[in-house]
Symmetry: C2
Subunit: 333 residues, 2 copies
DNA sequence: TTGAAAGCGCTAACAT
DNA sequence: ATGTTAGCGCTTTCAA
């Protein structure tokens, strides 16, 4: 492959200085029309592509954002990644993807690499958020924003779904259908949203019996196991921590010969794509992934421009109830 | 934020030249131990991180690979992305993610951006591959490798699952169970693997009736619709283009009151995570995503080092039959 | 063993 | 309206 044309090559061919080429191509400053045309022609003929590297070195910004994801295995995250990529792209930013795994050490290493690559900012999308985790994120030499998890008190800006509100909507939906004894399959406390979602369920249950709470693991297996504990507990509906949990619960119930929603209602959280494909299709709370991505990117860019309404409260986005077929009125007594 | 320390700052603090700092930190060349220590200390004290940008400009390589994905909506791709990211990371490369969408125009634009960012090479992961598509990929000024789709005759290196072989394994599994009349739900021909998978099914059916082939769309909806056409066709088993298709088929069959696998067997392809969660859990052909990622990265790096065993045949990787519960013997006559 | 200096390809003052 | 020039932060000859 012949070496790529540089700005000097274009300048020479067009018979102008590199400065002029730069001006014409970046549309900044002015140039007489004939000059402009010559430059454009030369650039085209040489198939010239400006070097983002050289530009980044000069401008001291790469127009690149780091995206650190810990759990691409959860089908919710690809949606978020996709949304973030689109939002960034629209604003002229590229995304360097880092698959953190769940090991903070490894994650620290990834962070370092992102910093060496001189990303302008970093988005961390992860459901789990421990204190240790937050501690080293705070030390980042680059602006960070968290998506869908908050590092309480760390001052790290975050944008998240209104988890508590969403869970309340879920439980309220069940109550509205006539359910009074409600079960909740929760997630371990390192899931940043676990406590809020449980609280939300309780919010909807004022004046009603407390929910029967059992612990899952945020995945299908945990949901399946936890659901066993709920069978015969007298609950007529289960609000699950997330869709994966609900899918597990659905499986257990089916195997136990328990009909959903005739005998028991199940509601999830997230609205991952496959929620529509379960049997019965899952009623759930949709997280606004598109908005989440857009806000995360915008907040980060704000921070870069110093116009940071920084720290402050996490920005909360409203979720939405999606009624499908896994919920219905409780069975008659 | 105070400006990041540069190599000059470190040099000054350690009382040496920048050249020495560079040598010590990149471990190239030699330095007396005391010098080394002083440099290391200075770097640590200043929390120095070399600028990958400046380095890239000098070395003319970014140690970054572009990853162009067209269909993050298909749950198979996150697995591939994850595998590629890990493989690249292990070899010291970062990944710039581009979410192509399915529009070749848009994709071209993404490609351009990757080139401007001076990625060292590009991996394209996409199930669809039209002639037009291949045509512009061939013009890329940067080495490309295709994952799981081949651009026949384009000479673009590719690594893919042995689709034909996999489909044959699927159909052979059904035949082995005693099935003789087999249905196949295919995908539109712009899916690079569609033809091969159909051929594979036929391969396993020598001496048996031809398969009954109906067309899906590679997604759940298409699978569901296509399966309707198969009910009452006399087939006792369905080999599906992929898992999403199979999930759609499962849904249709359940609604039609047709028991799987007692009355009809269903087998998928891909082994996406949720294949294990369907009801019944889906028997399928597992694509070796980890290997796929590793090979793709390695092939690309080979091309970068000129040691390209280039063009040549697409490298084919062996899939694996995963038997779950959606397949069984045909019903007695 | 270490240092001086010349770029890598661009942009942005500053001149003209 | 256009050109000259000084870097951005590194690596890498080449000299000492």
């Amino acid at each position: 492959m012949p070496d790529r044309a540089t700005i000097a090559d274009v300048a020479e061919r067009a018979g102008v200085s590199t400065a002029t080429v730069s001006r014409v191509l970046s549309g900044v400053g002015v140039a007489r029309e004939p000059t402009r045309q010559r430059v454009l022609a030369a650039a085209r003929e040489l198939d010239y592509r400006p070097s983002g590297i050289a530009r980044a070195l000069k401008r001291r910004e790469t127009r690149t954002l780091g995206l650190l994801v810990t759990d691409l295995g959860n089908p919710f995250y690809p949606q978020v990644v996709s949304a973030i990529e689109s939002a960034a792209h629209e604003r002229g930013y590229g995304i360097v993807l880092s698959n953190g795994g769940d090991d903070p050490e490894r994650e620290l290493e990834h962070l370092d690499l992102l910093v060496e690559r001189r990303v302008d900012g970093i988005i961390v999308a992860s459901s789990r958020m421990t204190g240790r985790h937050a501690a080293f994120l705070r030390r980042s030499p680059v602006p960070i924003v968290l998506v869908n998890s908050t590092a309480a008190g760390s001052g790290i800006p975050a944008v998240a779904t209104a988890h508590r509100r969403g869970a309340e909507m879920a439980a309220a939906h069940l109550v509205g259908l006539g359910h009074r004894r409600i079960g909740h399959i929760g997630a371990p406390s390192e899931h940043a949203a676990a406590a809020q979602r449980e609280a939300g369920v309780r919010d909807a249950l004022v004046g009603l019996p407390d929910p029967v709470v059992v612990q899952g693991d945020g995945h299908v297996e945990g949901g399946a196991r936890a659901a066993e504990g709920l069978i015969g507990s007298g609950v007529t509906a289960i609000a699950c921590y997330n869709d994966l949990t609900a899918i597990g619960a659905l499986r257990t119930l089916r195997r136990a010969g328990c009909h959903v929603p005739q005998q028991l209602s199940v509601i999830g959280f997230d609205d991952i794509e496959m929620a529509a494909w379960t049997d019965p299709p899952l009623t759930t709370i949709r997280q606004p992934t598109g908005e989440l991505g857009r806000w995360a990117v915008d907040r980060l860019l704000d921070a870069l421009n110093g116009s940071g309404s920084n720290g402050a409260e996490p920005r909360e986005l409203e979720p939405e109830l999606v009624v499908r077929a896994s919920t219905g009125p409780p069975p008659p007594e």
